[in-house]
């Protein structure tokens, strides 16, 4: 039997398996949330989120999988830990957000932000070099995110880049780690099991 919920968006399907998966991945007692809104009140990113954290938690409780996973909330989340620190019920909200990102990526839902691309580029640098190659990260992300076509931001960052370069703050060559092969294996093994 499929449970449906009548919301402002019409009839929506409730998926209890989704709620369970989020709870298991995040080791969080989501059922404890009683909507006190402490999380959203202190959230520095809430003003840009499709749903503030307390609403997202409610939707996860209800199993509104599509609405949750297609929202930008967990991509915007800064992992600043303010919500989890203040939650009176000790819900690990940041771990819930991590779990949602993992599930979204597993299901190939990239959402409306460029943040999955940022994380992938960042980790690619670590996989290739063992450390973050900052100049490489900036250049690759700027090109592939399409930011290279946004003139105003590009000019601002180009000016900043030159200033940083002049101050010796941007290493031209990538960093080196001797155990590069070992790092690559860590990536391969964790992605199999993660």
């Amino acid at each position: 039997m499929t449970v449906q919920l009548v919301t402002e968006k019409g009839k929506e399907k409730c998926d209890p398996a989704f709620t369970k998966e989020v709870m298991e991945r995040s080791h969080s007692h989501l059922e404890r949330c009683y909507q006190c809104i402490a999380c959203s009140s202190g959230c520095p990113g809430a003003y840009q989120m499709d749903y503030p954290p307390h609403q997202l938690l409610r939707m996860v409780q209800l199993g509104l999988k599509d609405r949750v996973l297609d929202s930008n909330t967990f991509w915007i989340c800064l992992s600043c830990e303010t919500c989890a620190t203040r939650c009176p019920n000790d819900i690990e909200i940041v771990l819930v957000m991590d779990a949602l990102r993992e599930i979204a990526l597993k299901e190939g839902r990239k959402g409306t932000t460029k943040l999955p691309l940022f994380h992938a580029t960042f980790l690619y640098m670590v996989k290739m070099f063992g450390k973050v190659y900052e100049l490489g990260l900036i250049l690759v992300y700027t090109i592939f995110s399409g930011n290279i076509l946004k003139l105003k931001g590009l000019m601002r960052d180009a000016v900043l880049g030159v200033k940083m370069f002049m101050r010796g703050k941007l290493a031209i060559l990538p960093p080196r780690v001797k155990g590069k092969a070992q790092i690559k294996r860590i990536f391969q093994l964790s992605s199999k099991t993660g």
């Binding site: 520095p44 940041v94 991590d98 993992e102 994380h119 941007l170 290493a171």
Partner: protein, 286 residues
């Protein structure tokens, strides 16, 4: 006082965008007789992108560094607040779950028993060397300098993992600055987020958060903001759109007060986008 020695983990930023943090850290540690032995062949901790997308990876990357330290028989002193939390979180999670610890050992192909203690260098200086000892060693008190101590997120949160200080009203950095002779100001944004991992992905959000923090510091009468994290520094120093508050690492100020040479601190100070040199000059400190 017994010699303090740590395995030093600078983190990726300290090799490029936060070079001045690394340089000043070494000088300051030396002035305080703290020996920093850089961890052999360390790697990136995975930062936000690691834990955001792959939990096991987010434990394995720091664990490789911790295993290197364990093999060398050293505890770890971390310079970056973000790396600090990743290390602390790894220890925290592995201590709770031995199956997970063994899993991570198999990922990194190295033994790690979980016995390495992790400290931030702010803790090493202010708690371990101690404020009394630092006071005794101050050669150039930072007199008349009003400073906003900025902690950001990962030193203080999650509090059960970092166990650094009070998560809402930390005082460790304020007390250090006071010991150096400066006047730490009370302000509203000392643990607000700077935008951290959105630094490239959502510059608009970073800019707003940075502007709020800088304005709060100015409103409280601060002449500069002090950080203990290379990412907070990068965001605060480069993304201010309405203010021009100089931002300076705690290690630079500590080194300056303890008598670092001009040829040392001039190199650090030249690397900032909003230079702290004018205010330091006005106070007769450089």
């Amino acid at each position: 006082m017994a010699k303090i020695k740590y395995g030093y983990y600078p983190g990726c930023s300290l090799e490029s965008t936060a070079k001045e943090y690394d340089l000043s850290m070494h000088v300051t540690a030396k002035l305080l007789d703290v020996e920093l032995a850089e961890l052999h062949d360390w790697n990136c901790c995975g930062a936000s992108s690691g834990h955001c997308t792959n939990y096991e990876l987010s434990l394995a990357l720091p664990a490789r560094n911790l295993a290197i330290a364990e093999k060398a028989g050293l505890n770890v002193a971390v310079a970056c607040a973000a790396c600090y939390l990743r290390f602390k979180q790894t220890n925290h999670d592995l201590k709770k779950n031995d199956t997970l610890r063994q899993k991570v050992e198999s990922l990194i192909e190295m033994p790690y028993k979980g016995n390495v203690e992790v400290k931030h260098l702010l803790e090493v200086f202010a708690k371990e060397v101690g404020l009394e000892e630092i006071k005794k060693r101050v050669k150039k008190p930072l007199k008349g300098l009003k400073l906003a101590a900025y902690y950001g997120c990962y030193l203080v949160r999650p509090p059960d993992v970092t166990q650094f200080d009070d998560p809402e009203q930390p005082m460790l950095m304020d007390n250090l600055l006071a010991a150096l002779g400066a006047e730490p100001v009370e302000y509203t944004h000392k643990v607000e987020c700077c935008g951290g991992s959105l630094l490239l992905g959502r510059v608009d959000i970073v800019q707003k958060l940075v502007d709020d923090i800088c304005q709060a510091a100015l409103d409280a009468g601060a002449q500069a903001i002090v950080t203990a994290c290379p990412l907070c520094m990068a965001n605060l120093d480069t993304r201010q759109s309405k203010t021009k508050v100089p931002v300076i690492h705690f290690s630079e100020l500590t080194g300056l007060a303890l008598g670092a040479e001009p040829k040392q601190y001039n190199v650090w100070l030249k690397k900032h986008i909003n230079s702290p040199a004018p205010i330091l000059k006005a106070k007769g400190l450089i």
